[in-house]
Amino acid sequence: MNEMSLSRLYRRLRSARPHAGVDAHALADTMAHAAGSGTRVGAHHDAVVAQLAVSPAHADLARLLRALEPESALLANHVNDVHRGVVPLRQREARVVARAHPKQAHALRWISGIAASVAVAFGLWTWQGEQQARRSSDVAAAATAQPDRIFTSRDQIFASSDASPRRTARGHDELFRANFARGG
């Protein structure tokens, strides 16, 4: 049976013809640009595309490169991770800084020591102040509460000896007023 597939016949036709080589970098860049990876259109873009239109082998390679792009990106990331090493980033950066600026690291150690001492001293001073304030307020409270208690006890004693506290209180006041009137 005759071959009637345009695609297959075209590829056979083109495979039989010698074709100019394609620059590997130009091809990779062209495919990266076509995939929208932000690569700028290279100077050889048109020549590469023209070659892809006539060379089945290079067309197959171009499609392979397009399919391989995610894996290439992944490999690049992994290789860079391995290069960065297994030490966590913060520790690594701290080491790098310490190695690059030993004098600064020494000064930093002093500053942090002084800051810690000041913080402890301030804490102690604040605590002492609070303790002192609490003690003096206790003393003042004790001094003012004592007469109240005496009066209260007196009132209670007085109240217990009298059947009518209201009358007693009025009588006491009257007596006080009488004295006052007499004196005054």
Binding site: E3, L65, L68
Partner: protein, 184 residues
């Protein structure tokens, strides 16, 4: 090269082996094996070139575009070697060893195909340049999106219109010239 016991070396080796295996699968998947290249050779060569790249610049960042370029250059070199081998005359003792597969093309069919291929070339030349490139890329097996990306066409839909009109034009012209009815 670093020591085999080096964990960094082991990790990189594992990454390159995985990547190489993926390249090999894609080489077969995109039919590169039909162009006379040795897939195992390419896989190994890609790994070696990636190692060399790392050895050259251990501190430099490893980019996806660089990985793509390594694969492209390795395959293009292999294609070049395959082309050279194909043009070299076979030694006399191997003449009898030329395998005639069950699906090999007989002389009659081969002559008919050659005639049709000639017709395709003639008719392709008559198609305006604007439509010729998208058709050629379509016949090479590129998808509409890939055609749009490569040929700088605004969208896959625009590429579809160009391709379908061009293919109709090509088929009509081939029919008119007596080459028969073709499929895509």
């Amino acid at each position: 090269m670093p020591q085999r016991s080096d964990p960094v070396h082991a990790r990189l080796e594992a990454l390159f082996v995985t990547f190489g295996a993926r390249v090999k699968v894609l080489l077969r998947g995109y039919g590169l094996d039909k162009h006379g290249v040795d897939m195992a050779d390419i896989e190994q060569e890609v790994r070696i070139r990636l190692w060399h790249a790392i050895e050259r610049d251990r501190s430099g960042a490893f980019g996806a575009s660089y990985v793509q370029r390594v694969v492209a250059s390795t395959v293009i070199d292999a294609l070049r070697r395959a082309q050279v081998r194909a043009t070299e005359p076979l030694p006399d003792e191997d003449d009898d060893a030329v395998e005639m597969g069950a699906d090999s093309i007989g002389p009659e069919r081969s002559a008919g195909d050659a005639e049709r291929m000639q017709g395709i070339e003639l008719c392709m030349g008559e198609i305006p340049e604007r439509r010729r490139l998208p058709i050629a890329l379509h016949l090479q097996g590129f998808s509409l999106q890939e055609i749009a990306d490569l040929a700088g066409i605004a969208s896959a839909e625009a590429a579809r219109k160009l391709v379908s009109r061009g293919m109709e034009e090509l088929k009509t012209r081939l029919r008119e010239l007596g080459y028969g009815d073709f499929d895509d």
